[in-house]
């Protein structure tokens, strides 16, 4: 996807902030692409968006919606 500067980082920050993605406790900071895709799919499903695993326009728009600051428990893996 043609992403603007920083859009990918902003999306990863969103997924981390709201509990869709967990920084590996022991590993290095960089996250595995498959984890990011899984987190994105969890967010899209919880948001009733097409579950593409891609950072498409609808997903980015949804991430800009005003919301509560608490985490979402919608990615079973991180939620555990």
């Amino acid at each position: 996807w043609a992403l603007g500067p920083g859009e990918k980082e902003a999306a990863v920050d969103y997924l981390l902030q709201y509990g869709y993605l967990q920084k590996p406790l022991e590993g290095p900071d960089d996250l595995r692409p498959e984890d990011i895709i899984e987190a994105l799919r969890a967010f899209q499903e919880a948001s009733e968006l097409p579950v593409s695993g891609q950072l498409d326009d609808a997903t980015r728009a949804r991430m800009r919606q005003p919301r509560c600051g608490l985490e979402d428990p919608f990615n079973q893996k991180t939620h555990k």
Binding site: S47, R67, L70, F74
Partner: protein, 427 residues
């Protein structure tokens, strides 16, 4: 729903530490109080406000910096608020948001507060995007109510609300003293649209008076009809006017050449008194928050009264139309409402005035349809700006499922507001 924790007790105190600058304070307070009521309506919880000292739940507004919250906010948009789970009790709102009420603009404080209180009571985010506990704000809804998932979640934590297990000390008996001898009169039909008086009372409740009866008007419907004297002992029916002043907490009722004063539902000593400095048989009364004065109306004139000072009435009455542009003579009711506007009522119609006290375009409109939630008898002309009033429209009055939601604070000072709603019962 998701359960994150719960309080070991069900009777909680709360304290409002500060308010947003984008709303009149009594509008913001009413929104926060209503947010508590959504939860106390469906679970055996009570919330008592304290104005000083410690409270279980503490509501406050802060921005990008805060001396007591490590979780800074991010300016307008994005994160609107956050809250701690039980039994911590902090509820914080982003002071940089445009907090509003009764409009699609900005962010509705009442709905967001209800969401954050859901967290403070132990709920996590819901997967239902239309549920109150969904993480993303779904916008202002004029007839907002909890989603079944919200109700199921809170009842999973605290049980269902049921009248028979209401705690004794919370029991609020209706007054047992013999009521004022009132001539038996037929119960009025709110859908007639006609009222003797309208009042924005304590805790932002809207009261309509007709004959010997009074009922509350809310966004989601009408409260049950009560005999006036069942709530305000000693008060007769067929009132001329009613007005509540947030400045003094006094409620004044006018009838004929007498005036009654109450604080909540308790009559003040020495009342009723004789009206001697203004004319008897008034038509209406309202409190105007901008100058904190009470206005009394009769015929085409008004008196402006400072409750706490000796008012010189020698130059009154003055012509009503000189100050309230476009309103009718001999109104049946008048009030300043939660939305910051002034309303006049007469016959079956009402007029809405803007902050310059000038009747807005598209008025008068139909009381029964726009205030009393009755199905329109005739096609209603919505004003050209399309703005409908705050109350629900288009629903027929359903008297079968009304719950009694009168808060009776008989022996508590006005300071402690008990938001315990008496259980539903046959009206």
């Amino acid at each position: 729903y998701l359960l994150l924790g719960r309080w070991r007790k069900k009777h909680l105190t709360f304290r409002i530490l500060n308010l947003p600058s984008t709303l009149p304070s009594y509008t913001a307070r009413a929104a926060l109080l209503q947010a508590f009521q959504y939860w106390s309506n469906v679970a055996p919880l009570t919330f008592r406000e304290v104005k000083a000292g410690w409270a279980d739940i503490r509501l406050s507004f802060h921005g990008r910096q805060s001396p007591y919250c490590s979780n800074a906010f991010d300016g307008p948009g994005r994160v609107l608020a956050h809250a701690d789970i039980p039994e911590l009790g902090s509820v914080h709102f982003d002071e940089d948001e445009l907090w509003t009420e009764e409009t699609y603009r900005g962010v509705n404080l009442r709905i967001i507060a209800a969401h954050e209180l859901g967290h403070a009571l132990g709920l996590g985010h819901s997967r239902y995007t239309q549920a109150l506990m969904a993480p993303v704000y779904a916008g202002y809804r004029p007839h907002f109510k909890l989603h079944p998932d919200d109700v199921a979640g809170i009842q999973a934590l605290y049980g269902k609300k049921s009248p028979e297990i209401e705690d004794e000390e919370e029991e609020t008996e209706l007054p047992t003293v013999p009521q004022v001898p009132t001539e038996p009169s037929p119960m009025p039909d709110p859908c007639s649209g006609e009222v003797d008086a309208m009042m924005l009372g304590p805790r932002g409740k809207t009261y309509a008076f007709k004959g010997n009866y009074v009922w509350t008007v809310t966004d989601s419907g009408l409260g049950p009809l009560f005999q006036v004297s069942a709530l305000w002992e000693g008060l007769p029916g067929n009132l001329d006017a009613a007005v509540y002043s947030p400045r003094t907490q006094w409620i004044h009722f006018f009838k004929g050449d007498k005036v009654w004063r109450y604080v909540n539902f308790k009559m003040s000593p020495g009342f009723p008194k004789k009206l001697n400095r203004v004319e008897p048989n008034l038509d209406a009364a309202l409190y105007w928050p901008l100058n904190k004065k009470v206005f009394l109306f009769k015929g085409s004139g008004y008196w402006q009264w400072d409750e706490l000072a000796q008012t010189d009435f020698s130059r009154y009455p003055k012509p009503t139309k000189g100050l309230f542009t476009g309103v009718p003579d001999q109104p049946s009711g008048a009030m300043s409402w939660r939305d910051g506007r002034v309303y006049f009522f007469k016959g079956k119609q009402y007029w809405r005035l803007n902050r310059q006290l000038r009747v807005e375009k598209g008025y008068p409109r139909d009381i029964a349809h726009n205030w009393m939630h009755c199905r329109p008898q005739t096609p209603d002309t919505t004003p050209s700006d399309g703005d409908t009033t705050s109350s629900a429209t288009g629903t027929t009055l359903d008297t079968t499922s009304l719950a009694i939601d009168i808060t009776l604070n008989t022996d508590r000072s006005a300071r402690d507001t008990i938001l315990d709603i008496t259980p539903s019962a046959t009206a």
